[in-house]
Symmetry: C2
Subunit: 321 residues, 2 copies
């Protein structure tokens, strides 16, 4: 029989957040540690073990943990390894699931962070009850988690859902961190918005509050603040971003005909500034049979909660020995 | 207990082919009728019933049919309806599954033709044993059937897998039959190859055997024949087609990380002429983590067999009353 709690861990480049979660999805206790503090991966696992154990004991949940689920950058559901994660301080591949299972004496399943968020959204958020939806995370990069027929799409090798690396500009596209050019991520991530700002400021001559800032240091937050204060150029940067994302979502619809897209992550906080141009562009670009039929929603979860809850759901999947 | 045979029906705009199939995938008898002969859909169903019944009786399979599976243009697995099929002579929507079930007294499940081919390929062809692959059909149009985790991807509304209508040229793209511009289908279908031929002949001035033909009447078969006879321009038409298809497959890989793509349909008969540029372009364009790791194969089935066998597999899915 399943034990009453699971642990969800959201492993990011800066922080690792974790929570104890019950079968109803309540986070009954949570805390976090600094991911980057340890240059040695085993030291990191040791601190994580100490801190998680402390929280488990304080919550009176000792010996009551069914499993551990982790969302980690490039975490592979099939292999339990982190395979190539530039934002983490340790050399890859990292045998994360095995190390955690060995240290905690509790079975562990991992997946990547966007998939964990999608599982969280499906279980507790805007995609509750949906069997076909696509989670798009707009953060430093663009990630995605795809659900088809109620199942997470992992693909043959566990790396499915790299929708940030679909090519949106085949000619003269922006350089992307993946080594290619024109990727969705180069335009529609927070970083992409800042790049668009620099491009617009250089090419255009109209006035903008953004001209008062150091162009090289402009962030998507600066663009958001300017747009909210009525800056026309800043608004057009969001229009441009949303237009490209809407084109991409139209193509993704031709793939898996989702009921909804759920937009998640930092840029999702831009509200209508980003949502209106996404929807306009989507309806203009999607195959006629889907016009007006696909929902585009914002996540209903706090970012940290989505990842912890989503990862924790994997803790119910573990098999007993 | 399941009865020992199923009927597979491949409904095309010109012909409707059908076969009686046993549990091992042997077509024990088959025949076909002309789809377009009847302006009234009920008359078509009547003739199909008469002919299929004749074949069933001749095979000694009366009362031994477990179910009927049909692959039809725009056939919807969920609703059993054909919803909008420009190549069929009857007004849509057509309640195909209900009409067939009522007439035959045997339960019927339908899907679209590309999905039926994918199911056939998974059960009996190049994708045997694969849980994640994408079938690409290159015919008059470009169709697709997507399999994820061993399951056909139908999507929320049953229309998933319209990969022929992913946008490959966002600027100045060719008009597509769907009313938009730049779709994969406008370039990589048999029709697309013929359009490329006309475009090349108009823009370029180099010699080609294709110049001896009436430009408006050129077919992909003409281009194939010229290329096989060493015509340089004709070969470049296949290079151009394969380049765009390879770019598309690279993007599709970012979606579902398939083990393989299976290329099916008329253009697949072009062999290396089309396969070599597809593979070159795929490897150049795919995200580095998948380089050299995704198979691109030709279908191993005869076209008619794939559709009949694939459709027939649905005949095992039917539920007993």
């Amino acid at each position: 029989m399943a034990k009453p709690y699971v642990i969800g861990i959201d492993m990011g480049g800066t922080n690792t957040a974790f929570g104890i979660v019950d079968a109803r999805g309540n986070v009954i206790a949570s805390d976090s540690i600094k991911t980057g503090k340890h240059s040695n991966f085993d030291d990191y696992v040791d601190e994580l073990y100490t801190e998680v154990t402390r929280v488990i004991e304080a919550a009176g949940a000792t010996d009551m943990i069914n499993g551990i689920g982790i969302g980690a950058p490039n975490g592979n559901y099939y292999t339990g390894m982190i395979e190539g994660a530039p934002n983490l301080p340790w050399p890859c591949p990292i045998p994360l699931a095995d190390k955690i299972t060995a240290k905690f004496g509790i079975p562990c399943i991992i997946t990547n962070d966007a998939n964990a968020a999608a599982i969280g959204e499906m279980t507790y958020g805007a995609a509750r009850g949906m069997k076909d939806f696509i989670m798009i995370t707009l953060g430093t990069g663009v990630g995605s988690g795809i659900v088809v027929g109620g199942q997470m799409v992992y693909g043959h090798d566990g790396f499915a859902g790299e929708l940030g690396h679909v090519i949106m500009k085949r000619n003269n596209g922006r350089m992307c961190g993946c080594g290619r050019t024109g990727c969705l991520e180069a335009y529609c991530s927070a970083t992409g918005v800042a790049r668009t700002a620099r491009e617009f400021l250089e090419i255009r001559s109209d006035e903008s509050k953004l001209r008062e800032l150091d162009a090289d240091a402009i962030t998507s937050k600066d663009v958001f603040d300017a747009a909210m204060a009525g800056d026309k150029l800043a608004k057009e940067i969001f229009d441009y971003t949303g237009k490209i994302l809407g084109e991409a979502l139209a193509d993704f619809t031709a793939f898996s005909a989702p009921e909804a897209f759920v937009i998640f992550g930092g840029l999702a906080k831009s509200g209508d500034l980003i949502m209106n141009p996404i929807k306009d562009s989507f309806e203009k670009n999607v195959l006629p049979l889907w016009r007006g039929k696909v929902k585009i929603l914002f996540s209903e979860m706090k970012e940290a909660d989505a990842a912890i809850l989503g990862a924790s759901a994997l803790g119910w999947e573990v098999k007993e020995d």
